[in-house]
């Protein structure tokens, strides 16, 4: 078996960077520990360049396990960009928090990113499993990286227990599919399932088990219990990383397994996703209304957003390739927009929290008077998450509605529209606090350049993307397997 190193270049490069950051950090004197940030940042930039270099190519290596196509490359770009934004936010956060070791923090993020790059190319159950674990294990450590903070410990424990339980269930499902088809390669599984009619019960059970594993990663109901606690207890940049990059990775795995491996069984899994999507978004939105803390609000809103992205899978078809292409297009488009608006919202919360030490929504009162730019940026992210024009979020929701209606999922579209209305309520409540209410404290919120840059870039992208949605559209259109 020959290995195509060209296809593996971004992953190999990132492995070197991660090991390099870890090793160099060991030998740095204590006052120079901050060096880990520029090293990691440049390393991810180099990886991004290597990924862009592969754009448009079709390479297969490692016996069909590892595939580089447009789908994989576009997701790798999303992961790298999200990681860069999170790094910029982390730098400001880590400089304030003396308890967090810089070297370990960035090393763990880089290894988690490595898992994400790998899962985008994995076309084999073994590779998908290993990649998913490579994402999760460093993430468990990141959630608990503030060792002396008991809340951070608890965040890590809850995340870990849910994570390993769902992994074990998912593995059981994978072993059943291996038993049914004698293969772990997704294409071989698809071929092995074609025309089989004697396997309904086992396949149903195995699909359920698989959905548990991915449902945990994308924080779908009923596997979302860890999300608010972990986001609240973990450092905020880690919460941003989990809610954007890790969730996107879950969707990548889900697409590959469901469309490439189990496309034949679409009639079986379609209703499951319709139900899970609806329940997830309704639960997320209803609970978000009652939240008083900004990170928990964003956590529940990210659960609801996962629901919006799962619903399109509820109209998938076993035979209609054009419809499936449209489904993948709509979710990828949503993920692209989501990466910027969600990271931006978390970055703004970091900027506010690190200066004031306050995380309650009522503390945001009068923010417009204190720091107009931060308030406007935060409002833009919240408007975008709510789907209000002119920010890119409206277009992402519009694409999903269009897919649902084309796929005869009118009921799903109506429920999603209702949910969007419920969601406006809590997003706009925060905006009202910032712009209308007054506060006694009038000190401006100062922030370092890296953090301001991350917020600025995210805000510009979602504003420009709202007026010119084709920028996202063209990228998303390329990301499909059919």
């Amino acid at each position: 078996m020959d290995v195509n190193f060209e296809a593996l270049l971004p992953e190999l490069l990132l492995t070197l960077v991660a090991c390099g950051v870890m090793t160099i950090d060991l030998f740095l004197p204590k006052e120079k520990r901050g060096l880990a940030f520029p090293l990691a940042f440049i390393g991810v930039l180099a990886t991004l360049a290597a990924v862009l270099n592969l754009y448009g190519q079709n390479l297969t290596t490692l016996d069909g396990m590892f595939v580089v196509d447009r789908f994989a490359v576009i997701f790798k770009i999303i992961f790298c960009v999200a990681a860069l934004l999170v790094f910029a936010v982390s730098q400001a956060y880590l400089n304030d928090d003396k308890d967090v070791p810089h070297g370990e923090y960035y090393t763990m993020m880089l290894f988690s990113l490595l898992g994400m790059l790998t899962i985008a190319s994995s076309r084999d159950l073994i590779a998908i499993f290993v990649a998913l674990e490579m994402i999760s294990l460093p993430a468990f450590i990141l959630a608990g990286i503030r060792k002396y903070d008991i809340r951070s410990n608890e965040a890590a424990l809850k995340f870990f227990l849910f994570g390993v339980l769902s992994t074990a269930l998912m593995l059981f499902g994978m072993s059943l599919f291996y038993g049914l088809t004698g293969a772990t390669n997704l294409a071989d599984i698809s071929a092995g399932l074609a025309g089989r009619t004697d396997i309904d019960e086992v396949a149903l059970l195995a699909i359920l088990f698989l959905i548990v594993g991915f449902g945990f990663k994308v924080s779908a109901f009923p596997f979302q219990w860890w999300v608010p606690d972990t986001y609240e207890g973990a450092p905020i940049p880690v919460a941003a990383f989990l809610s954007v990059a890790s969730k996107t990775a879950g969707f990548v795995g889900l697409f590959q397994v469901m469309f490439l491996g189990l496309g034949e069984l679409a009639d079986m899994w379609r209703p499951m996703f319709a139900v899970i999507g609806i329940v997830t978004m309704t639960f997320g939105n209803l609970v978000a209304i009652q939240q008083k803390q900004i990170v928990r609000l964003l956590a529940y809103s990210s659960i609801a957003q996962a629901g919006y992205m799962l619903v399109p899978l509820g109209v998938a078809s076993a035979t209609d390739g054009a419809l499936n292409t449209q489904i993948i297009f709509s979710v990828v488009a949503y993920l692209l927009v989501y990466a910027f608006m969600e990271t931006g919202a978390f970055a703004a919360a970091t900027a506010f929290g690190r200066k004031t030490g306050k995380y309650l929504i009522e503390d945001y009162a009068g923010l417009f008077g204190r720091s107009p730019a931060l308030a406007v940026a935060m409002a833009a992210f919240l408007f975008s998450l709510a789907g209000i024009p002119p920010f890119a979020g409206w277009w992402a929701k519009f694409v999903i509605f269009k897919t649902l209606i084309e796929g005869d999922g009118l009921v799903l579209a109506v429920i999603m529209a209702l949910n969007t209305v419920i969601a406006m309520f809590f997003y706009l409540a925060v905006v009202k606090k910032m712009f209308v209410d007054k506060s006694e404290d009038t000190a401006a919120i100062a922030m370092p350049r890296s953090l301001a840059g991350a917020i600025g870039i995210a805000a510009i992208v979602i504003t420009v993307g709202g007026f010119l949605p084709n920028l996202f559209g063209q990228l998303a259109e390329n990301a499909n397997f059919f």
């Binding site: 073994i126 674990e133 002396y148 008991i150 410990n153 424990l157 059981f172 291996y178 606690d229």
Partner: protein
């Protein structure tokens, strides 16, 4: 040995593991239960590999990966439990309840 017998055994083992995770409150026993679940998966993979009568050993290779990753997982898990024990002197999941709603 018929494949069905093995599958009954692995399903039983798996259910024991799920029960342990859901019912026990001691974090270390929960970790052990998760190991039982993963071992049920390994047995499953190896049994299927034997029954499929191919010359490819995909199932056994998969099981090796599962074993390796389970070890890494347990390392991280025990580290987290140890941290909790250091900071709050408990390994009971019911007493780890600062964050809610």
């Amino acid at each position: 040995m018929p494949l069905n017998w093995v599958l009954v055994l692995t399903t039983f083992l798996f259910c024991v593991g799920v029960y342990g995770v859901l019912a026990r409150r001691n974090a270390v026993i929960v970790l052990m239960s998760i190991e039982i679940m993963l071992n049920a998966v390994n047995l499953n993979l190896i049994a299927f590999n034997g029954a499929l009568e191919g010359d490819r050993l995909i199932g056994q290779v998969f099981a090796l990966f599962v074993i390796a990753i389970a070890a890494a997982e347990l390392g991280v898990g025990l580290a987290i439990v140890l941290l909790i024990y250091r900071n709050s002197f408990t390994v009971s999941l019911d007493e780890v309840n600062l964050l809610k709603w």
